[in-house]
Amino acid sequence: MKILVCMKQVPQKDAPLKLNESATWVREDVGYEINEPDAYALEAALQLKEKNGGEVVAISAGPARAQTVLREALAKGADRAIHLEDDKFVTLDAFNIARAMAAAIKDEAFDLVLTGLQSDDYGYAQTGVLLAELLGWAHATIIMQVEAKDGGIRVKRELESGYFQHVEMPLPAVLTIQSGIGKLRYATLIGIKQAKNKPLRKVSYDEVAASLRPNQLTIEKLYVPKKTKQTEVIQGTPSEVAKKLVAKLRDELRVI
């Protein structure tokens, strides 16, 4: 099975984010990490390869810094990587990112494309489904399990309220992977060493520009969410805080 894993670099979870001057994006001077759901997509791909053989290719669109994510994927066991490298990719909407990726892989014959179920920055949860539409492939989202079956695959989808569903589909296909599909592996020292020599193909903005359209979605303004609730702040040493909370629980909420 030849598997492509879409991976995004996002600001670290606890990074102190600040808005840029036009309040349309965050300032870039923060630490970055792999979008966690994409790490699970990579894990799912590596497990499929271990079981069925084949190749795992990681792809990312973003500035030079995004290469860190691809090197990490290579260190964990991906065979090669594709980097759509340009600052401009950061501001593309999900439809255009999907167009750019589809253009970058047009000469490859993948059986399966995996993405995380959503990104921690935009949170659109769309890139995988859009890729499927552009490639003309079947797809399924929020996947908890993947197994090869009769030349196709059988997947377990998570539904709401604790329900699940199995779905069979032919290949090629696109799946968005739910976090928790497997235990995330660490890169080994040997893996990190080998990653340096694994192939990484760079794709420039110009190479895919013909496939792109003007962004339809524009972020007019980013802002700190307006508070809808009166919040009482309790301060003090741990024991003072504990006493104040207990007084509240006993006298106001009457749960003690």
Partner: protein
């Protein structure tokens, strides 16, 4: 002629998914602002659509369409997209609104893309401002809100997160119900029947007190800290998604959009940042106390009581104090 806002109403096994009503309320509000009209469409087999269509027809909408086919009895993205695409070509709405359910997430981006449009997913509100339609949505895991707009002639698509509008403010009316035979082409995926895993042993929805842990608990070996507090208070322990993903607590103790939706008397959030997927599962709690070291954590936006501090210092002190108070 007035433009149309079409709401895609979701039904499951013949039962209306009630979050659809919230989306209808959002559509009614927008329509009122601009003199547009609201229509609704439901997809499924004939037997599945009768009851939910009747319920929607009792709302103030211009028309309810049942898009019927036996091939739509089980949800598939191919079937739903083909049927809706053909329907949209005829009904020509300016705006298509959908509830942000797992099913909608699965097919709405594909539907929009098949028409060359973009979906604003996971919105929490929409309004016209100076003639421009703006959608509000959360970004960066709830740390920021964004106002976003869509270019082009449409149809424009947006999905609304649960809780964006209040279903009980749905305006009543009486609408005609039309039946349209759905055009469904080739369906590539073969869905099996939905199932539940071993029945959840814990029903968090019945708990009066919930002590919930998030990433801030750091390691599995710290879970007993929270458990001790839960025991002292006589409450249930719960968690946000990442904790259950990591296997530190069983999935059945997960609160949020993919877990249980709870409304206890007291919800004590320990080290939970407050991503929207978690908030939708607990914001109905009567009283929310949040302890988090990050003063900017979105959980504080829904908290009644905020404690900015280190949970590893505060929780043991609180457990001791609760024990003392109980004698």
């Amino acid at each position: 002629m007035a433009e149309t806002i079409l709401v895609v109403v979701e039904q499951r096994e013949g039962k209306l998914n009630r979050v659809s009503l919230e989306t209808l309320v959002g559509a009614q509000a927008l329509a009122k602002q601009n003199g547009w009209q609201v229509e609704a469409v439901l997809l499924g087999s004939a037997a599945q659509l009768d009851e939910p269509a009747k319920e929607i027809a009792a709302a103030a909408v211009a028309k309810v369409t049942k898009l019927e086919s036996d091939a739509l009895a089980a949800y598939t993205p191919d079937g739903f997209v083909a049927a809706l695409k053909a329907f949209l070509a005829v009904s020509e709405p300016k705006l298509v609104l959908l509830p942000h359910t797992y099913q909608i997430r699965d097919f709405a981006p594909k539907l929009a893309a098949s028409l060359g449009s973009v979906l604003v997913s996971d919105s929490t509100g929409a309004r016209f401002e100076n003639g421009k339609l703006l959608f509000t949505r959360q970004m960066f895991q709830g740390k920021f809100s964004a106002d976003v707009s869509l270019a082009g002639d449409g149809p424009h698509f947006a999905s609304f997160q649960a809780g964006s509008y209040r279903a009980d403010s749905l305006e009543a009316g009486s609408a005609p119900v039309e039946t349209v035979a759905a055009a469904v082409g080739e369906i590539r995926t073969k869905p099996e029947a939905p199932f539940q895993e071993a029945k959840a042993a814990v029903d968090l929805t019945q708990a009066e007190i919930i002590i919930s842990v998030g990433r801030g608990i750091k390691e599995q070996k710290n879970i007993p800290l929270a458990q001790a507090l839960a025991d002292a208070l006589g409450g249930e322990i719960a968690a946000s998604r990442p904790i259950c993903d990591a296997g530190w607590l069983p999935m059945e103790r997960q609160v949020g959009s993919s877990g249980q939706t709870v409304s206890p008397k007291l919800y004590l959030a320990l080290g939970i940042s407050g991503a929207i997927q978690h908030i939708v599962g607990m914001k109905g709690s009567k009283h929310i106390i949040a302890i988090n070291k990050d003063a900017e954590a979105p959980i504080f936006e829904v908290a009644d009581v905020a404690v900015v501090g280190n949970l590893f210092d505060i929780v043991p002190a609180l457990t001791e104090e609760v024990k003392k108070a109980r004698g």
